[in-house]
């Protein structure tokens, strides 16, 4: 009896602790970040190393880097996941090799990706410190995550669909497009959100690749400062930049929430359409 009560208490305590940390973090950011947050903060350029002014160019750079990363990573990861799940046997040497590599890659610290991106994209391919280099580096970083979640989503699609579809004389690509991918959509979206979250929070890899110029970028070949880099810079290198750092952190969280909800609603709409209409 006592033991039971103790266990219950322990479980409740851990749950409260975990949510408490989250609430504290969020409250801290909101309390410190909200006062400075305004429309002008969102659109103006940073002044005085970010102590005053806004974060307009930084939001633009962040979205561009994220855009490059996702435009590169989504088709690549989808294609790889389809290859792994539908066109190679699960226990084949090739499949095992690719999966193992992906798992190792997923665990590699982001600073290593940063060095790699710097060496390959900035120097070897001559892209320099640019949004393109940063985006491509982030793409490499989120690829393993996207591929494994997409593959698991496809594998979880009922095998009966594959059999029934083949028995109707439908090609494997048609089965994939009309049946398996829609069935895997929730998993694809979940993976995408994790990937976006990881990419948008990345600091270390971007310092080496997209740089920290805080001007408005003219093209993808310009250097651009991401929000996370901005926050890091303000809180570490700029005395008196804490208020701006908090506001930027709040914007980062809001941005993430926004992207996630847009992805979710798009996926829902698409699923709904594919189920109901002709």
């Amino acid at each position: 009896m006592v033991k039971n009560a103790l266990t219950t208490l322990l479980i409740w305590l851990t749950a409260i602790l975990v949510s408490g940390v989250f609430v504290w973090l969020l409250a801290d950011i909101i309390i410190h970040g909200l006062p400075k947050l305004s429309w002008s903060f969102l659109v103006e350029t940073p002044k005085n190393a970010g102590r005053s002014g806004g974060i307009g160019p930084i939001i633009v750079s962040t979205l561009l880097i994220l855009g490059v990363a996702m435009v590169t990573a989504i088709p690549l990861s989808l294609a790889t996941a389809v290859l792994l799940s539908e066109f190679t046997r699960h226990d084949s040497v090739f499949g095992r090799l690719v999966r193992r590599s992906l798992d190792v890659l997923a665990g590699v610290p982001s600073i290593v990706f940063g060095l790699f991106g710097n060496a390959v994209f900035c120097i070897y391919l001559g892209l320099g410190f640019s949004i393109l280099s940063g985006g491509l580096t982030l793409a490499c970083m989120v690829l393993p995550l996207l591929i494994r979640t997409a593959e698991e989503g496809l594998q979880a699609a009922p095998n009966e669909y594959r059999l029934a579809s083949a028995a109707l004389g439908m090609s494997r690509s048609a089965t994939l497009v009309h049946l398996l991918l829609p069935a895997a959509t929730p998993a694809l979206v979940a993976g995408l959100m994790l990937g976006v979250g990881r990419a948008i929070a990345e600091t270390a890899a971007l310092i080496f690749t997209s740089g920290y110029v805080d001007r408005m970028p003219d093209s993808l070949f310009d250097s651009g400062r991401a929000l996370s880099v901005h926050i890091y810079d303000l809180s570490m290198n700029v005395a008196g930049g804490d208020a701006s750092a908090y506001s930027s952190a709040l914007v980062l969280i809001l941005l993430l929430l926004m992207i996630n909800s847009i992805a979710l609603s798009l996926a829902n709409q698409w699923l709904h359409r594919s189920v109901v209409t002709a």
């Binding site: 109707l168 004389g169 048609a174 189920v275 109901v276 002709a278």
Partner: protein, 290 residues
């Protein structure tokens, strides 16, 4: 309780009137007086990896007839069906030897157009597998894949096959609603309609009634009887009474020496059930073994 049962059976009687179907009246007995083999299987053996699943099976499937395959679980009946529409291609490590001919085609020929073949030889699974699409899309999707794109033509086919399986009256007002919302028996009839839409010659059915309740099972069984003559049906069933009711021919499979499935006896259904030659068959159909 008894009131409930009466109520149900009344409903079935109503939906089973012949005019609900366009496949024609129920046929019982043996219309196949001139047996003409459509599929010929000679010395078929099948291995999954090193494990034998079927050994030395030879039999003919007669055109327009219902052929029932009976026998205990794991004796290779489903594997046998999968050979006939080359669904075995999807199973890695599956090795087949022997000869299988459909009409004049060699079914094991590597250059055979498998997608074309599967249009001719459709398959119905134990668990109904409607796709997570609307009722209409379930039937249209394979048709579109096979190059039929005119909406008017598609509408006609959808109505025709749904009438064929006696589902039209039940779903005509909700063709756009999800197929997964249908009951189990309706789902299975939709799957049969979907297969019929491709105008197959042969239908392979892998225990099509065993996942259904007795009433839906009866409806599907009637439907299968209506297919006789127009289609060649090969049905795997564990329900001996059902096999006896609907089949013209029956094949009895058994696991030999704890190893591989093989065909013990094949013949007219009446003979298999009433005068089996092999003692194993006799024991099985009498219920004293298996």
């Amino acid at each position: 309780m008894s009131h409930f049962i009466n109520n149900k059976s009344e409903q079935v009687d109503k939906s089973n009137t012949d005019d609900a179907y366009t496949l024609g009246p129920l046929q019982v007995g043996l219309p196949c007086c001139m047996p003409e083999p459509l599929i010929r299987v000679d010395n078929l053996s099948l291995h999954y990896g090193l494990k034998p699943a079927l050994e030395d099976v030879s039999l003919d499937i007669y055109k327009g007839c219902i052929t029932a395959l009976i026998g205990p679980s794991g004796c290779g009946k489903t594997s046998f069906l999968s050979v006939l529409n080359r669904l075995t291609d999807l199973i890695p490590d599956c090795r087949i030897s022997g000869n299988v001919h459909y009409d004049t085609m060699d079914l094991r020929h590597p250059a055979l157009d498998v997608q074309r073949l599967r249009r001719d030889i459709g398959m119905i699974f134990q668990k109904p597998v409607p796709f997570p699409l609307s009722i209409r899309r379930n039937i249209e999707l394979p048709l579109r894949e096979h190059g039929m794109s005119k909406q008017a033509g598609l509408n006609d086919v959808v109505q025709q096959v749904l009438q064929d399986v006696g589902l039209w009256e039940e779903v005509k007002n909700r063709l756009e609603s999800p197929a997964l919302a249908l009951s189990g028996g309706q789902q299975q009839r939709l799957c049969i309609a979907r297969a019929l839409a491709l105008q197959p010659k042969v239908l392979l059915m892998d225990e099509p009634c065993s996942a259904l309740d007795p009433i839906s099972s009866g409806v599907v069984e009637d439907l299968i009887q209506r297919l006789r003559g127009k289609y060649t049906v090969v049905i795997v069933t564990h329900n001996l009474a059902q096999a006896r009711r609907i089949a013209n021919y029956a094949g009895f499979f058994w696991i030999k020496d704890q190893r591989a499935g093989c065909l013990i006896e094949f013949g007219q259904c009446k003979q298999i059930f009433e005068a089996p030659v092999h003692e194993l068959t006799a024991a099985y159909v009498n219920g004293s073994r298996g």
